[in-house]
Amino acid sequence: MELLENQVLKKDLENNIKLIKIILDKCSDVIYREFVFAQNEQIKLALIYTDGLADKGQVSDQIMRALALEVPMAVPGRVITKAQALEFIKERGLCIHQIKETNKVGEVVHAILSGDTVLLVDGHDTAIINGARGWESRPITDPEAEPTVRGPRESFVESIRVNTSLLRRKIKSPKLKIESFRIGRLSATDVAIAYIDGVANDQVVKEVKKRLERIKIDAILETGYIEELIEDEPWSPFPTINHTEKPDRVAAMLLEGRVAIFVDGTPFVLTVPSLLVEFLHASEDYYERFIFTSAVRVIRYLAAFASLILPSLYIAIVSYHHELLPTALLLSVAAQRERVPYPAFFEVFSMELVFEVLREAGIRLPRPIGQAISIVGALVLGDSAVRAGFVAEATIIVVAFTGISSFTFHYSASISFRLLRFFLMILSGTLGLFGLTAGVSAICIHLCGLRSFGVPYLSPVVPTAYSDLKDVVLRAPWWAMLTNPRSVLGNNKKREAYGLKPTPPESGK
């Protein structure tokens, strides 16, 4: 088969069709349409395309109809010979925007399977590839995974061309480069990297290309495949590559000097290099006014922290360090826990597991029953667990709050926080606050050593880039964020003109 694909086309049409038919044996979705170019000399033509991928309207109207009927009428006096046919068809015959020529069988086959329509002319060893693709796809909808109140509502879809066009609509500069790759022996998936020339760091762009070219795999079905194949630290629980389904977020990332990786067939786009703080930021943070944003971010950071350590802190205090609670609270917690036969560690650990089951079920369940199940799960289960004396009310409060907190920031980061939470719970269940501190220290040491495409994961906090601290926990107003973040290693340092701070007009004028 490989040998066949390496061959070149011959002059004989019958032979060429036979060759393609052998390669595309038992592919019932490929359509072969042979017809005759109406001229004095009978010139045979063949159209080959994949049903469902090619735009049938375009194929019949702009190619077949044009060739069979309109062209001969348009130039009545001219006699077209077999030898001229290809040139003539190319110049006058096809009403298609994008055509390409090739004589390689492999390329022809790939074009057919990608949705292009191939036109073969008898007596010529060159095929014309018509870019008349058109298939059913999902419309552009609201971002499901990253909903926002204020800001663009569009999200990427499964088609890479639509996705790159969404990005191009945000950045109308020739400096926005979109380079294509094809990865996957069987899937031949289109992969594109996008970056802004002169803004993104050349080293990072080169590194991304190098890592992508390294991949030898049969198929790429989602960005996750690529993420796992190119990340810096495969064993880390933390994601070192960010992903998003929002074009505006990708645009913002590119403008700061990052590189985006698009994959055909998925609405998620990877951006590198990524920092930990990115996962705690939402795109809306930059659209709302900075005072509100800063306040919300403080809450989000606290919530992230709570989602990591709150259950372990509760376990440690209840089982080892009672003196940390004020007396009144201690008495009420002790009264609740009196009925519970299990140690605090077991109680919290099992309730956290229950919560994870509920969360997982909430995602997998068919949408219509999702609501009902979550009510049954959360309310009935929680309430009865307390009444039956399995857990204390305080535990339920802690677990519920932790669960809610973990949804205040980016999903993929919250997964790692959730996993580490269990690790910390075990530590604090055995060693109390010392275990918790040791666990948090281990996590911090791990984070200090992480890198994403050469950029320290904890920057700009550690190592400190002071100018970048304008956009970490608090966000400075837009007129004060004069430079792009240095920690991403971008080249375009200056973001805006100095002195854009608006002032009221002077009175009396």
Binding site: Y320, H321, E323, L324, P326, L431, G432, L433, F434, G435, T437, A438, S441, A442, C444, I445, H446, C448, G449, P456, L458, V461, V462, P463, T464
Partner: protein, 364 residues
């Protein structure tokens, strides 16, 4: 060994501070006060002055041999044989002090926080966390330290709040203690400040070794300030008698905070930052020991011996003392002389003198 790792001056200063401070705040005030009584703060001031000279000694060695670790330049100065011997002594001291620190932490945790847990658990866990930091590299250790410095802000705030309880009259009468006691008390903080010599094991990580003088001066001054504040705080809150009777007076000082009758028990914040600081301090000594051992065997990478050295440290820390009383006695009466005379001044001074004489001879 450390070629690729580079830290900037601020990180270096913070690193030296956290190399000295964590254990110091734990047990230093009580020991110093028990010797120098009410005038212990004078000891802290004097120790800072002498400590600056220690720092100068170390930094002049580092500057004369740029890009070389302590072990490498001691070999260069004293020749292969004597250099190795000095290096081995120094490695011993690093491992010994590391076990002392680990033990000190274990004792603190098992007496003040969790008395029912066997001390070995704390020793092992502390060593594991520090080993992880060491294995991750010097840059990571420095960054972790920087991250911890951010948290130190909270520590300082809590510490400041505890000063609401002070009574200045407890410092009176001043200069009441005998001069010999004050000088004897000076040795205790000095033995901590002398630990600055450990930094010379990492000198290749500095961006520019010219700045090492500023780095050591700065860090010794800041450490001295902390000692002074720590001792003065304990004196003004508890007075010399109660203060020296307590095992961990700074801890108790923060425990006494009661703001608006619901901000209480802040001692746990101090406790946590001490634990993290302890990991850093252990990590730095551990790292220096590991660098020394890998130098001794001529290894190109230090990572394979992190674990073996860790086992030695933990085992030694289990065996080294019978209990906290024993250890405090050792820290008060033996340790200052042992470490100051031999390792913190003796060996560096010897190296410095020999290198000066050699230089003289070269130029003559």
């Amino acid at each position: 060994m450390l070629e690729k790792e580079i830290i900037d001056d601020k990180q270096a200063v913070l690193l030296i501070i956290n190399m000295i401070l964590p254990t110091a705040l734990l047990s230093l005030p009580a020991i110093t006060i028990s010797i120098a009584k009410r005038d212990a703060w004078i000891s802290a001031v004097l120790a800072t002055g002498v400590g600056l000279m220690f720092g100068r000694l170390v930094s002049s060695l580092v500057m004369n041999f740029p890009g070389k670790t302590f072990f490498e330049f001691s070999e260069e100065i004293l020749g292969r044989f004597f250099g190795k011997i000095v290096g081995i002594f120094f490695i011993w001291w690093l491992i010994h002090s590391c076990s002392e620190i680990v033990r000190e932490y274990g004792e603190f945790l098992s007496t003040a926080i969790m008395p029912d847990t066997p001390i070995t658990v704390f020793l092992v866990v502390s060593a594991i966390i520090s080993a992880y930091a060491v294995k991750s590299g010097f840059e990571v250790l420095a960054r972790f330290n920087l991250l911890f410095a951010v948290l130190m802000g909270v520590f300082v705030l809590v510490f400041a709040i505890s000063f609401l309880n002070v009574k200045f009259t407890r410092l009176l009468p001043m200069f009441d203690t005998a001069m010999t006691d004050i000088l004897k008390g000076t040795l205790v903080p000095l033995s901590w400040m002398g630990e600055v010599v450990v930094f010379s094991a990492f000198s290749p990580v500095l961006k520019n070794c010219r700045s090492v003088v500023r780095i050591t001066d700065m860090s010794i001054l800041l450490v001295g300030l902390h000692f002074f504040i720590g001792i003065v705080g304990v004196l003004m809150i508890f007075g010399p008698e109660v203060g020296s009777a307590m095992m961990y007076p700074v801890f108790n000082q923060v425990r006494m905070i009661s703001l608006a009758s619901f901000i209480e028990r802040l001692d746990y914040i101090i406790f946590m930052s001490w634990v993290i600081g302890g990991f850093i301090k252990i990590g730095i000594f551990y790292f220096a020991a590991v660098i020394g051992v890998s130098w001794m065997f001529g290894l190109s990478d230090y990572r394979p011996i992190v674990f073996p050295v860790g086992i030695i440290i933990v085992a030694l820390s289990v065996l080294i003392h019978e209990g906290i009383v024993n250890q405090l006695d050792f820290l008060m009466n033996t340790w200052p002389f042992y470490s100051i005379i031999i390792f913190e001044t003796g060996i560096p001074l010897l190296l410095w003198l020999v290198s000066q004489i050699k230089n003289r001879r070269h130029s003559a």
